[in-house]
């Protein structure tokens, strides 16, 4: 992470500001210092990811319930774009519906995390996610 241009940038697509804030706090608490760019809707996030002037390695945190498009549509758009298709995608949502989970994996999601309502386990999940973020090798090309 010494080379800022090469460092992984975390793109969080989450329409609930509270959730976004909680997720960010817990990521920070887990010791992850990467940039976090947050978007409240799908189209802005897509615009940022697909038309980036200086493409960087991204890690995408995606909430499935978005106001303007479904998380699934967003996911398939990300996975069909050359810039972003190798970016790991962590689906983070309140839904633990079996079909939804399977669908996300089919579309190329790397991890699927249900936002637990039990705060302790939620914080724990986010921290583990942070640890995960700090160790993964994001492919760079």
């Amino acid at each position: 992470m010494s080379d800022r241009n090469r460092a992984v940038s975390i793109v969080m697509i989450e329409d609930d500001e509270g959730h976004a804030r909680l997720i960010e706090k817990n990521i920070r608490r887990a010791g992850v210092a990467n940039d976090i760019v947050t978007f409240g809707n799908g189209s802005q996030a897509l615009d940022y990811l697909l038309n980036a002037r200086l493409p960087r390695p991204y890690l995408i945190l995606l909430d499935l319930n978005l106001p303007d498009m479904t998380g699934a549509d967003l996911l398939s758009a990300i996975k069909s774009n050359d810039n972003t298709r190798r970016a790991p995608v962590i689906v983070l949502t309140t839904t633990d519906d079996k079909h939804e989970v399977e669908k996300c994996y089919d579309l190329g999601a790397n991890v699927y995390i249900v936002k637990p309502l039990n705060y302790d386990s939620f914080a724990n999940a986010i921290r583990q996610l942070g640890l995960f973020l700090s160790v993964i090798q994001v492919p760079i090309d």
Partner: protein, 504 residues
């Protein structure tokens, strides 16, 4: 249609009755007329016999006379042969004639008179023959010459003719009657046949109309059925849509309610964390000598009691809300649960369920028993397991402290349904609560056991999803009996379930 049906039936019955009546009348008439005809014919025959016999009497007298005359003329005894037999035969003929007339109830006095004269004639003849045989032929001829015999003879002729005329008149009249009777019989025959034919034709026509009416009624019925089926299908479709709507609604509501809840829980926890760092500072600051006393007391009360209490209530309420939302979500998912029908031995399934809730049962010191053997059916294993595990769990949870817990399972099967009862001797369910307890989040009786009011709602949703239902019977004191009704074959229920693609 409904009105035409009985009138058709009545008309047909009337036709049949009329036909029977005509046939009976015909048979009776034929019988009467043929009896009459036969009796008339016999009478005519008897009369004819009497006439012949009477003629015979006269003929025999004539024969006897000519035989006598011949003998007197040529004195040859051979001539006497007819003479000898004539009297007896005449008597016989007369007797038969009298008998016949007697049978016919006809006055026979005329014949008595005839017999008298004939007898006199034979006396005269025998006398002359006797004289001739005794050699007094002249004396005999003299008697003949006296014309007494001739007189008798003409009287016999007159009397015979009179009798024969009388009888012939009668016979002619009878023959007319006979003819008449026979005519009437054939007329009755013809009329009856025509009537029967007409009735038969009418009945056939009626039957034809009836069949046509029936066919058209059947068509109408089929059309009505079609319409009904359409309506039922449409209603079922609407219901299914409404049901799906509710499920989606429940899903969305529970899902969307969870989002803010995540924030409330999360930031409450942030607050706790932040507060944990602030609290010792506040306490230190309050302990400092320069601190204003009243303010310090308030601040200490806030950090020691008020804030922790508020956080505690936030936490307990949010976790309760979490449970409620989870309940709604669970139920909304059950409604759309894909069932997998398979042959299931309920007895074994119930034993497995008993084993699953054994810890709670043992904890409550309760005995569970299966009365007889539970039947087998075709159903969904998971759903059935959940139903029985919930019911057993429920029974174990609400046992009475006053007595040793006892839970009994029993089952029976009708042609289409399997009925399983779970009976306990627990605290029972008050009558007013008996329908409430199957509703989501509703509980009854003393609220001294943990629970969210989800279990029985869950059971009812599952039972209904499988085409069955659940009910409870209880006196509210000495226990309750939960009765689960299920189709014997889940497939028949699922096959009747409308599918989207079939209707549109």
């Amino acid at each position: 249609m409904k009105r035409a049906e009985p009138s058709l039936t009545n008309l047909n019955a009337a036709l049949a009755a009329a036909g029977v009546a005509v046939l009976l009348a015909l048979a009776y008439g034929a019988h009467v007329f043929s009896e009459k005809t036969e009796s008339l014919a016999k009478d005519v025959a008897r009369l004819a016999v009497a006439e012949v016999r009477i003629s015979g009497v006269y003929t025999q007298v004539l024969e006897a006379e000519s035989s006598q005359r011949g003998y007197l003329l040529v004195n040859d005894p051979n001539y006497l042969d007819p003479f000898r037999a004539a009297r007896a035969r005449g008597e016989e003929n007369l007797a038969i004639a009298v008998q016949k007339l007697g049978q016919l109830n006809i006055d026979a006095q005329g014949l008595d008179a005839l017999r008298e004269i004939v007898s006199k004639k034979y006396d005269e003849l025998e006398k002359t023959v006797a004289l001739a045989q005794a050699g007094q032929r002249d004396a005999a001829i003299d008697i003949v010459r006296a014309n007494h015999g001739r007189e008798l003879m003409s009287r016999i002729r007159e009397r015979t003719n009179a009798e024969l005329d009388r009888l012939a008149t009668m016979r002619k009249q009878w023959i007319v009657e006979l003819q008449d009777s026979a005519d009437k019989m054939s007329v009755a025959d013809v009329l009856g046949s025509v009537a029967v034919f007409l009735l038969a034709a009418l009945a056939v026509a009626q039957q034809f109309r009836h069949s046509r009416a029936l066919a058209s009624a059947q068509q109408n019925l089929a059309a009505a059925n079609d319409a009904l089926e359409h309506r039922v299908a449409a209603r079922t479709r609407d219901l299914k849509r409404a049901n799906e709507e509710i499920q989606r609604y429940a899903y969305i509501v529970s899902h969307d309610l969870r989002a803010p809840l995540v924030n409330i829980i999360g930031f409450a926890r942030e607050l706790e964390t932040a507060f944990a760092t602030v609290k010792p500072l506040v306490e230190t600051a309050c302990d400092e000598p320069g601190a204003e006393k009243a303010l310090a007391e308030k601040a200490l009360a806030a950090v020691r009691d008020d804030i922790p209490e508020a956080l505690k209530f936030i936490r307990s309420s949010t976790s309760r809300m979490d449970a409620l939302i989870a309940g709604i979500l669970k139920l909304s998912r059950l409604g759309g649960l894909a069932l997998q029908p398979q042959a299931i031995d309920l007895d074994q399934l119930a034993r497995d369920c008993i084993a699953t809730v054994a810890h709670r049962l043992n904890g409550a010191g309760a005995q569970v028993e299966i009365e007889g053997r539970l039947p087998s059916l075709v159903g969904d294993r998971d759903a059935l397991s959940q139903v029985f595990a919930n019911l057993l769990d429920n029974a174990a949870k609400y046992l009475s402290d006053a007595r040793v817990g006892r839970i009994v399972l029993r089952g029976r099967q009708t042609a289409a349904q399997t009925i399983v009862e779970v009976e306990d001797n627990g605290r029972g369910v008050d009558l007013k609560d008996q329908s409430r307890i199957f509703e989501l989040f509703r509980r009854a009786g003393a609220q001294d056991r943990p629970g969210d009011g989800i279990g029985l709602a869950h059971v009812r949703t599952l039972a209904r999803r499988m085409g069955g239902d659940i009910a409870v019977r209880s006196d509210g004191r000495s226990g309750s009996i939960f009765t689960v009704t299920l189709p014997n074959d889940l497939r028949t229920f699922l096959n009747h379930e409308p599918r989207e693609d079939r209707n549109v």
